[in-house]
């Protein structure tokens, strides 16, 4: 029996800022940190190349606001990486962070053995993933051919392969429409699109796409069962009124249902926000351990690459302020409490001092379509009340300055009222 060669981490690698995740948020943050004169900025990405999710989104529009031109996902990712390298950012690929510890201490797996990193500040930018079939608790057998859009795009754009020819697509988010485009341009013909809600989640006119290409869309319908021994053979669709039909197909594509890739946070000393599924942050992107910051879709599912890019850059600015001594320590925190119909609020708390020095807005989302008034109150005092008709997966922005929050506020309550 051969003894495993143990590789205890040697002396930790010391860096100014460790960025975990080389997607749009992480790379743009790293670029901004270098622009602000921060010394050693290292992006750790667990993948074989940096760029994040856009790498396997082989379609426009990416980059309009960042680079002033219309790019496909892979071209956008390459450009981001190039800009980061030109800015002096160090990108370490195949570096998987496996644990976060206090005092900016990180554990990593690398192909050359485990290493430890000691960072003055850490930016978490680990992005998102879609909800798989398992977490949706879908009935049926467990055949080959049940995947998420992220996997589909990796099959097509990274491996040149196709996982099925006649899938049923579950969901009508933006990513679901992107999945249709991916299918149609690579020899796959979706047999139907299924949506539990009564209307598409994606915005008009994009939601017209399946109709334009002749793919039937079933609203108020769910997959009641998946069937197949080896590969998927059929699904049973069930309408809200109970009507069931069997549909032959060779795959099921579960699209969207994005969740933050917050596993590292969940397993660490940092506080997780149960509503967003991401780390709990203040208006500067600071986590419960103030040496840790977070940006991008890890904060909430799901925003565009462009949004993540700008958010990364903004929060990098606060990290630079912090390292350069101009960001005040939090002396008091005002929690933002999501009430009725509100799915999440980001940030989850406002740190004082610095009420208006960080994010200008509080981002909200609703769980389901909701019409009425958005009511924002603090210590029993209404700060804002405005009519709102909100749809799921769409951002709602609250102007923090307009709220006129008082310094003695102990909480901010946000809810929908009739």
């Amino acid at each position: 029996m051969t003894e495993p060669t143990m590789t205890e981490p040697a002396n930790p690698l010391s860096v100014d800022v460790a960025v975990i995740g080389g997607g749009p948020a992480g790379l743009s943050a790293a670029i901004e940190l270098k622009r602000r004169g921060i010394g050693q900025v290292v992006v750790f990405d667990r993948d074989v190349e940096a760029g994040g999710v856009p790498r396997h989104c082989g379609h426009p529009p990416f980059g309009l606001r960042e680079f002033g031109r219309l790019l496909t996902g892979p071209a956008y990712a390459r450009r981001l990486v190039r800009h980061a390298l030109q800015a002096g950012v160090e990108i370490r690929l195949n570096h998987a962070v496996v644990a976060l510890h206090p005092e900016g201490h990180l554990e990593l797996a690398t192909p050359d053995g485990r290493i430890a990193v000691r960072a003055k500040r850490v930016l978490l930018a680990t992005g998102i993933r879609e909800t798989p079939r398992s977490a949706r608790l879908v009935t049926g057998t467990r055949p080959v051919g049940v995947i998420n859009t992220g996997a589909l795009q990796a099959y097509v754009h990274l491996q040149g392969m196709i996982p099925f020819r006649r899938p049923v697509i579950v969901g009508t988010e933006l990513v679901s429409l992107s999945a249709i485009a991916t299918c149609l341009t690579h020899g796959m013909r979706p047999v139907a699109m299924v949506e539990a809600r009564s209307r598409p989640t994606a915005r008009w006119p994009l939601a017209l796409l399946p109709h334009l290409v002749g793919i039937p869309v079933h609203y108020r319908t769910e997959i009641a069962a998946i069937d197949g021994d080896g590969r998927v053979e059929s699904v049973i669709l069930q309408k809200q009124d109970g009507e069931r039909t069997t549909l032959a197909c060779d795959g099921v594509l579960f699209t969207g249902g994005f969740v933050p890739e917050a596993s590292l946070v969940r397993l660490s000393h940092l506080t997780l926000d149960a509503h967003s599924g991401g780390p709990r942050i203040d208006q500067f992107g600071r986590c419960s351990d103030s040496l840790y910051y977070a940006a991008g879709n890890l904060l909430r599912a799901v925003e565009t690459a462009g949004w993540s890019f700008r958010e990364g850059r903004r929060i990098a600015g606060y990290i630079a302020d912090d390292l350069q001594g101009s960001l005040a320590k939090a002396e008091r925190l005002i929690p933002i409490v999501p009430g009725r119909d509100i799915k999440l609020a980001v940030p989850q708390q406002i740190a004082l001092p610095g009420l208006l020095a960080g994010a200008r807005t509080i981002e909200l989302r609703v769980e389901e379509a909701s019409t009425g008034h958005l009511d924002v109150s603090s210590n029993g005092r209404t700060l804002l009340r405005k009519p709102l008709s909100a749809l799921p997966e769409r951002r709602i922005l609250l102007d923090l300055k307009a709220l006129g929050l008082l310094d003695d506020a102990t909480e901010i309550r946000v809810e929908m009222r009739p």
Partner: protein, 462 residues
């Protein structure tokens, strides 16, 4: 036609029992062949269970089941280091949730002591809370069984089979037994991939045990009544909430629903006990999975909001009776190991020794003097995994930290993965929280041309 020398023993079925029997008889000096109708071992009852190494504290006193469990338990402890098999020493607590159940703990404790498990100990409410602070305050107390532990339910049988192969056994996968004729000296077996001869046949066919029995003897000595168990696996973050296996006070029919850590660092709840006719289809259903989640949250309230990583269902080869259906037909050179239910993972090595004794009683043999001890994949979360050692290439599955080196090893060697399920069981690739969101396409590429049901159906230019 040239008649090849018959095998000493043909084993029908590559589940945990078949693999353990193959190992034991090979080490005993027999020339063994194992026939498995599926494309990989562990494709039936052995692919879905709760992975507990049982002491037998609640087994029927004096039963063969108890004897095999205890013998199997001890042998696992004895051989596990040499085969590099893990164990997670958790202990179990049979928890009473109401006065009725609390009243039945005495009987369970007595049975445990009668079964030779003398280290069981009662825990009052406070002791239980001290041991498991996240456990619901509704728990009234329990019976601690310190030596109930967790093992890797797939690497263990794989290691048994690998050791059999390394010492001269053969395996034929995708090979279904069609019929058998005993000529007074040897069996002539017709299979889906050709004929073969063997002096003795051991039926370890699990969910197909009665069918194989009928194909060999023209009659069935028992009837398999598949019993389905659904499971929900929670995210690894949940494992911090529980250190001990939480068992219910059992009913007559089933051990009931268990909440347990797993050796892979997750938390598992299940199984249900649902009778069904189908022998090879084990579906899950939303309502049952929801109820399992609720059950888990009732036991461990801090689980609320914890993400689900995986769902699965397994089938136990129950029969019309509770006990193991073991039969030795000395005249016919036939040993039948039937009706091995949920305790099979623990009992397999004991059953193999039992088979060994039955077989040796009428067959001269010389045990191998210096057998080879191959090593199993080490997938336990608390042990040093492959990714901690340099030179692994890259990590393909990040949720479960599976390296390219591990995947390549699982696709190579004397018993390469025969299908995607087999690859997952050998490496855990794709079994984590993202369920292949990140790695499925890479796996499709790495396994191209290898599996009968491939992950990819074609290339983009097709």
């Amino acid at each position: 036609m040239l008649q090849p020398t018959p095998f000493d023993v043909a084993i029908i079925g590559g589940g945990v029992v078949g693999c353990a029997v193959a190992r034991h008889l090979t080490l005993a000096g027999a020339k063994v062949v194992l026939l498995e109708k599926a494309t990989d071992i562990l494709s039936g009852a052995s692919k879905g269970n709760s992975a507990i190494l049982h002491t037998g504290f609640d087994a029927p006193p004096g039963s063969l089941e108890l004897a095999c469990m205890q013998e199997g338990y001890q042998e696992y402890i004895d051989i596990r280091t040499r085969l590099r098999l893990p164990i997670l020493e958790t202990g179990a607590v049979v928890v009473a949730w109401n006065d009725d159940e609390a009243g039945r703990l005495d009987q369970i404790e007595q049975t445990a002591r009668n079964n030779g498990i003398s280290d069981v100990r009662r825990l009052d409410r406070n002791e239980l809370q001290a041991r498991e602070p996240h456990l619901s305050a509704q728990a009234l107390g329990g019976l601690l069984v310190p030596r109930e532990h967790l093992i890797d339910p797939w690497s263990a049988p794989l290691a048994y089979m690998l050791q059999a192969l390394a010492n001269g056994a053969e395996i034929r996968r995708s090979t279904e037994l069609l019929s058998g004729q005993f000529d007074g000296r040897d069996w002539r077996l017709a299979t889906s991939t050709g004929e073969l001869a063997a002096t003795t046949v051991v039926n370890c066919a699990g969910l197909y045990g009665d069918i194989v029995d009928e194909r060999l003897t023209g009659q069935t000595h028992f009837t398999i009544k598949p019993r389905k168990g659904q499971f929900v696996v929670f995210d690894k973050a949940a494992a911090r909430l529980l250190g001990t296996i939480i068992l219910p006070v059992p009913s007559e029919r089933t051990k009931g629903i268990v909440l347990t850590p797993t050796i892979f660092g997750n938390l598992l709840v299940g199984p249900t006990a649902e009778e069904q006719d189908e022998r090879d289809r084990a579906g899950v259903d939303t309502a049952t999975l929801e109820s399992l989640k609720q059950k888990a949250e009732a036991i461990l309230p801090a689980l609320a909001g914890m993400p689900v990583t995986a769902i699965y269902a397994g089938l136990r080869p129950a029969t019309e009776r509770k006990e193991y259906r073991v039969r030795h037909d000395v005249e016919q050179h036939l040993i039948t190991i039937g009706g091995i239910r949920s305790t099979g993972l623990t009992a397999a090595l004991g059953l193999a020794r039992h088979v060994g004794r039955l077989w040796a009683s009428s067959n001269a043999h010389t045990p191998l003097a210096d057998p080879v001890w191959p090593e199993a994949p080490m997938l336990a979360e608390h042990e040093e995994r492959d990714w901690t050692r340099p030179g692994y290439g890259e990590i393909i599955c990040h949720c479960e930290m599976v390296t390219r080196r591990e995947l390549e090893a699982a696709l190579d060697g004397p018993l390469p993965a025969g299908d995607i399920g087999g690859l997952k069981r050998r490496t855990r690739a794709g079994m984590g929280r993202c369920q292949g969101f990140n790695c499925s396409a890479r796996l499709a590429s790495l396994t191209e041309g290898r599996f009968p049901v491939p992950l990819a159906v074609g290339h983009c230019h097709d």
